[in-house]
């Protein structure tokens, strides 16, 4: 069953400009998403996940800019689309949810209006009609008493409610692709699960593909068919979700999984202490020579220090970017 992928990203490069200098914040990132599929992007903060997502819909702001590679959406190259064309895609066919439900909504507008804007913008509805549709949208994201809620301002809602509103906005126009940038990070644990279920259910029902970005491996494992692990502006490993959790190939992936608090059976077996990966993600301007992970890697060798590893495609699909992949 080889259908055309919904989104193809090839050799994406994002530059960060500091003064006259340019640094590649994201380099050589490639992945594909099929229709209805959920791809996870995982990694520590600062490794370039969010800006990768932003670059897909042309929302990078200086000093960042998309400087190389190709983004094909539904067979069409969109990285160089004129602003107008891009805008028509945004929200309509590719929607995005952000991390901070507190600030992502305009504090001075009612949530009803902020949802209604989508219908006015993309469906050419009148405001009155759009407001009615907004109530329906709120119903679909399981907000109680939607008729009342549409008149509320964001500060009157809880974090979970706001994120539901964000989802309602994002899915208002039945997009083909949803970019979800850490949609639950800022929420309480109990609310997290509800929101994730909501996203999962709604996207499944509409056949919407999802690019799920998170630093939370557990969440990714739950949601995604495939997972890409990012480190320092690169995807270091990309495979099907079950495989990657059972047998991580890249030392970084390994480290991430090892640092997960374990629940259930395995925890009882005795690995009580969490393992951490020593050190932090280097800043963009100071990416090291050779493999970018080598300063933190337990398996680093001379080669790692000198030579940048290339992608090694694995027989069962996916790839890993490591000289010493297991």
């Amino acid at each position: 069953m080889t259908t055309k992928p919904l989104l193809e990203v090839e050799h994406l490069r994002i530059d960060l400009a500091i003064g006259d200098a340019r640094f590649a914040a994201v380099q050589d990132v490639s992945f594909t998403i099929m229709r209805g599929e959920t791809l996870g992007l995982v990694g520590e903060s600062g490794c370039g996940k969010s800006i990768t997502a932003l670059s897909l819909i042309g929302l990078l702001r200086p000093p960042l800019n998309l400087s190389g590679g190709a983004v094909r959406f539904d067979g069409q190259e969109i990285q160089n689309l004129p602003a107008d064309e891009m805008r028509k895609l945004r929200g309509n066919r590719i929607a995005m949810i952000f991390q901070e439900p507190m600030t992502a909504l305009n504090p001075l507008s009612t949530v009803g209006r902020q949802i209604a804007e989508m219908f006015v913008l993309h469906k050419g509805k009148s405001w009155a009609e759009a407001e009615r549709l907004a109530i329906e949208a709120l119903v679909s994201v399981r907000v109680p008493a939607p008729e009342r809620r549409v008149k509320d301002y964001p500060h009157q809602l809880s974090g979970g409610m706001r994120q539901r509103v964000m989802i309602a906005i994002a899915l208002a126009c039945d997009p083909d692709l949803l970019l979800a940038d850490e949609p639950t990070t800022a929420l309480d644990v109990t609310v997290q699960a509800e929101i994730l279920d909501l996203i999962k259910d709604l996207c499944a029902a509409r056949g919407t593909a999802v690019l799920m970005i998170s630093h939370d491996l557990g969440l990714i494992a739950n949601m995604c068919q495939r997972v890409g692990v990012m480190y320092a502006g690169r995807i270091v490993e990309e495979r099907a979700a079950e495989e990657i959790f059972q047998a991580p190939r890249h030392p970084y992936t390994n480290g991430l999984i090892a640092s997960l608090p374990l629940l259930g059976a395995r925890a009882r077996h005795g690995r009580q202490r969490l393992k951490e990966i020593a050190g932090v993600v280097p800043p963009v301007a100071a990416f090291p020579q050779g493999c970018r992970f080598h300063p933190r890697c337990y398996a680093a060798s001379e080669t790692c220090r000198a030579v940048d590893p290339v992608e090694t495609h694995l027989p069962q699909g996916g790839f890993v970017r490591c000289h010493h992949h297991v």
């Binding site: 929302l59 929200g91 504090p107 001075l108 507008s109």
Partner: protein, 311 residues
Amino acid sequence: MLSYLVRRILQTVPIILAVAFLVFVMFSVIPGTFAASLSDDGRAIVDVTVVERMNKEFGLNDPLYVRFGKYVGQLAQFDLGMSFRTRQPVTKVLADRMWPTLQLSFAAMLFAIAIGVPLGFIAAMRSGSFVDTISMVVAVSGLSLPKFWLGLLLMYLFALVLGWLPSFGYGDGSLRYLILPSIALGVAPMALLARTTRAAVLDIMNADFVRTARAKGMSESRVVRWHLTRNALVLILTTVGLQFGTVIGQAVVVEKLFSWPGIGSLLVDSVTLRDIPVVQGAILAIVLFFLFVNTLVDVLCAVIDPRIKYT
């Protein structure tokens, strides 16, 4: 809403009382008397009996607590006393001068808003460009000139050299006479507003909800219209409110320079001549005006910004 308004108005009461007290104390210890001012031009030889009689008539010989009691008693009846100089109720003297000051300060603010806000907007939209640099240099320069000098230069340029506008005075109260003084008065708040607007717009442009708006597929102009303007407005309004205080204070200078018959020039004259009841009344009037404008601004902000609670 109404209770919010009432609460805001009640909050100003202690301020007004404190100003009334402060003003009384300050101008009770001021050296020089009105009677002495009568001869300060060296023209008239003021005789001793007249001076004494005047001081007696104005109650200047009474002990301080008696004068204060009288002052408070009058204030309680909204009476500001009699002007030494005009021998008319201070309220009437002020009423005669209030309108020109209002005209001038509103015109100056209007100028400041009409030029400053768009300038700040443009600068923020083209942040980092040549336009941005130029408009901010203009803004900072506008803040760096003594007002009377600027006024004098304007007067020379537009009245004498170009002959476009009358140089001074109130005339028939028409717009022609209002333009130069309100520009002289409005340049500084204009500069401040341009800077505030630019900063506010820049802040908001980087706000998450603007990113959301873009992600929704909105064009930049829609983003500005639907999401940026109202949010920037709250910040701009607050600045405008506070700037009114400065403007009405600086009106003293501009009114004196342009012979504008407002409260400001009256205040300077009355300080010089030690017409104390008028000085006290004028300062109270200015403070009241400032509080009124700022209460208005607060209410407007509350209308625009639902986060401000009415209760």
